[in-house]
């Protein structure tokens, strides 16, 4: 990881007595022996121990850690569930019911996995909202942001294929509708859909490949998450002020300050998770998915899972098939170029008086899209979806590129430390409050 450059430095030192070994400072002899040959312990200490982190994070900065925890929960529950699940159209529904009834704690594992998907999206949506509000996607963190968008798309693909596995009515018809999106492509569309299905409709080959990919993609997510963290540790974290740390006073070591803050956040998060799993496990689901898949009968009203609704609304806002698909894809892909669309050098919306409100409107707009996505495709919902879709794109394509020409940002604080310490007192600072951090630093 980021330990690389430091190692290089140490290795090229001519005074180093063991040229090919890492100069480990680890005390325990066994751990040191390992660390000299493979400096993972030094790396962890550097990246998660002393790693200099802005001192002014608010609780929005907990959500990366929460996403990590959720990924671990999803993989752990997913692996044991896959030991009981049968990816066959004749067996899938019953095998899930067997998990719920006969497998020891099967209900717990399945409900944790199903609701974990929703929790994952809640966490990731807030994590992304944080980046948008505080300008974390801007230089030099463009690649970090883009890797995040890759993770988001991988998550959507994984969640979609996972939802197909129980082989209920929503599984089957969701799979049918979403795979049919590809048929909108000119010339090759039909061939691609047939290829995706492995047949002429969503059927056993489709279920089998979705199961395989649903198992594979989470490990791709793990890999990209690793890259996401590598990129993060090169640029360092953004912070609510959006200004870079200048001196050591502006940062604190990641451990113990943020390890304990993340730990506290994780416990609070698990309470919300537990309420969902133990007391309302089917609240976010759809009753139709407890009806076994029937290729002859489409449910009266197909809705995707709640986390797809905003994009589903964009799809339906366009009366043209190809147009809808292109716009829905565009709503996601536009995020990749976002760092170059926003022309303001100021990161945090705290210092952008106009952009802040336009962004909050965008947030509400996203919520409205989520709401119309669950409504039937009729007026006035179509009109609302069209207006919201227009604003969704206008924010990225018009507001962010041109607003900076007119907007006068508020004065940025001199440094993080100064801003934090001034804010804390709200007046003359108590002596103790300023003295101690100074000493520390």
């Amino acid at each position: 990881m980021a330990a690389g450059p430091h190692d290089q430095h140490e290795l090229s030192d001519p005074d180093s007595d063991v040229r090919h070994m890492h100069d480990s400072k680890v005390q325990n002899p066994v751990l040191r022996w390992i660390d000299q040959r493979m400096p993972v312990i030094s790396m962890i200490q550097l990246e998660y121990g002393s790693f200099p982190t802005p001192r002014n994070f608010n609780y929005f900065w907990n959500f990366g850690a929460l996403a990590m925890v959720t990924l671990v929960i999803m993989i752990a529950t997913g692996v044991v569930l896959s030991m009981q699940y049968a990816a066959n159209t004749h067996l899938a529904f019953d095998s899930v019911e067997r998990i719920m009834r006969d497998v020891n704690y099967g209900w717990l594992l399945r409900y944790a996995h199903a609701n974990g998907a929703s929790m994952f999206f809640i966490v990731v949506y807030i994590h992304m909202w944080r980046s948008l509000y505080y300008g974390s996607y801007k230089s030099p963190r463009e690649l970090l942001w883009m890797l995040g968008v890759v993770l988001f798309i991988l998550m959507m693909a994984t969640a979609f294929m996972g939802y197909v596995l129980p082989w209920g009515q929503m599984s089957f018809w969701g799979a049918t509708v979403i795979t049919n999106l590809f048929s909108a492509l000119p010339v090759v569309g039909e061939h691609i859909v047939t290829w995706l299905w492995g047949g002429f409709s969503v059927d056993n080959p489709t279920l089998n490949r979705f199961f395989s990919l649903h198992f594979l993609l989470p490990f791709v997510i793990v890999g990209v998450t690793f890259l996401h963290v590598v990129a993060l540790h090169i640029t360092g974290s953004n912070n609510p002020l959006g200004i870079e740390p200048k001196t050591k006073k502006d940062t604190i070591p990641f451990h113990p300050y943020y390890t304990i803050k993340d730990s506290f956040g994780i416990v609070v998060y698990l309470v919300v998770f537990a309420i969902l799993v133990f007391f309302m496990p089917n609240y976010l689901g759809h009753p139709d998915n407890y009806i076994p898949a029937n290729p002859l009968v489409t449910p009266a009203h197909i809705v995707p899972e709640w986390y797809f609704l905003p994009f589903y609304a964009i799809l339906r806002a366009v009366p043209n098939k190809l147009g809808g698909v292109v716009l829905m894809g565009g709503a996601l892909l536009i995020l990749f170029v976002l760092p170059w669309l926003d022309s303001s050098p100021v990161r945090s919306m705290r210092f952008r008086p106009i952009a802040k409100w336009l962004f909050l409107v965008w947030t509400v707009n996203f919520g409205v899209l989520m709401w119309v996505g669950g409504k039937p495709a009729e007026q006035p919902y179509i009109l609302i979806a069209q207006i919201c879709t227009a604003y969704y794109f206008a924010y990225f394509l018009v507001i962010l590129p041109f607003l900076a020409k007119f907007e006068r940002p508020l004065p940025l604080p001199e440094s993080i430390a100064r801003a934090v310490l001034t804010r804390k007192g709200g007046g003359p600072l108590p002596a103790g409050a300023t003295a101690k951090p100074m000493e520390k630093a």
Binding site: V103, P253, H255
Partner: protein, 206 residues
């Protein structure tokens, strides 16, 4: 951030933040003398709670891999004994394993009972391996006690080993006409499943 990158923090890896922070906590000017003690207690309590929580939550994952309720409730198997002639044997499935049902000849019973117990690796009388009054019927699990292969000897054309019972082709264990181990690497006699006679010509295994 450029500054931070240009001047990598001089905090050495051997000086993790925790020690750093403890030192500050113990600072006499901290204004609360019991600080470190209280924090240590809190940390200990929070740490042990976390450990217990993680331990307890591991159980559902582990237990989910134990036999499930439907597997535990698996049906018992009924065997009709009528069609089995003297000297013949049938194999039935029970819990995914073969069960050998053999109708022994008088001579085979005689042979099994003639063996002194002292000669046996896993001493058991022939009487203890059949139901009282049903000496002809030997019912054993068809799983070699060495490493789990299925021994030969059920079909008339099979090799029955040197003791006229069963012979395991994997590693050469010989069983006698009471299913007891006589030679080879297997340590124990062929196991006897739970079964009962539901009528004179019918047994229920399990």
């Amino acid at each position: 951030m450029a500054d931070v990158l240009a001047n990598p923090p001089k905090t050495s890896p051997s000086e993790p933040g925790s020690r750093h922070a403890d030192a500050v906590g113990a600072h006499p000017h901290g204004g609360h003398e019991e600080g470190p003690v209280r924090r240590d207690f809190l940390k200990l309590a929070a740490g042990s709670f976390t450990a217990v929580g993680v331990g307890v939550m591991a159980w559902p994952f582990i237990h989910s891999m134990n036999p499930s309720q439907d597997v535990l409730a698996l049906a018992s198997t009924d065997v009709e004994l009528g069609p089995i002639a003297e000297g013949q044997a049938v194999t039935v499935m029970w819990r995914g394993k073969p069960v050998f049902v053999r109708r022994r000849t008088a001579q085979e019973i005689q042979e099994a009972r003639a063996v002194p117990l002292g000669e046996l690796r896993d001493p058991a009388t022939d009487q203890s391996r059949v139901k009282p009054g049903k000496d002809q019927w030997l019912i054993v699990l068809g799983v070699c006690t060495h490493l789990g292969c299925v021994p030969l000897g059920q079909k008339p054309t099979d090799a029955r080993g040197d003791y006229g019972g069963w012979f395991c082709p994997c590693h050469g264990s010989h069983y006698d006409t009471a299913g007891r181990i006589r030679r080879g690497p297997a340590p124990l006699n062929l196991a006897i499943p739970d079964y009962s006679f539901t009528s004179d010509t019918r047994i229920r295994v399990g």
